[in-house]
Subunit: 107 residues, 2 copies
Amino acid sequence: MNMLDHTFNALADPTRRAILARLAQGEATVGELAKPFAISQPAISRHLKVLEKASLISNERQGKHRRCRLRPEALDSAATWLEFHRRFWTGSLDRLDAHLKSEKKPR
Amino acid sequence: MNMLDHTFNALADPTRRAILARLAQGEATVGELAKPFAISQPAISRHLKVLEKASLISNERQGKHRRCRLRPEALDSAATWLEFHRRFWTGSLDRLDAHLKSEKKPR
DNA sequence: AAGTTATATAACATATCCGTTAAATGAATA
DNA sequence: TATTCATTTAACGGATATGTTATATAACTT
């Protein structure tokens, strides 16, 4: 698994995206993150592990709590990949489109 | 599963990203797409199904072949999500940073 | 030291993923 | 019509994902 795999995989789950959205409002402990969800706390802990492995979050022990925060740089490679391909694909299709149009004219 | 789930999930696999990269060079049949990979052709067919479900590609029967092409719009929602969060996260952290700095000054 | 709180880990069930090979389908060709 | 080619679908197996509950750990509190 490379970095993009981990990032896209982590982002493919709505619970994990919701956790990220929550963290975008500010740091939170595991318990605070788990509270709004209908699933158990261990399940959240494992989602956090996935986000951690993707470097999307980090955490730091604070007494008996563990405080989580975003690592925004982790989005960079995914955003770069997406932007590049989005432009490249569209560019290719534009050229194809132009090509097809220029083919049609002569007839 | 919503659209982002499908998109991110589809992009999380390196074989599928390679297929997309290949299609960015131009349309191709299933067989042409399968050839460079070490895995069986039915396996490729199923990757193509995943990409199709994510609306990342479409295909059209042409005689006994099936020709695949990219659907670049499918990247839009994912790119939008990523860009938004990337900026938002960074913005939040900048504000946090500024906040922490402004807290320190008075002392 | 004992109890409480926050979180992680273990053990388990179920579902999905991803690959395989074999058989089915659909269309072109002999 | 029978054969061949391109692709899909079926049936299977093993690995991974995601949830559960029960138990362990780690740090505060009494």
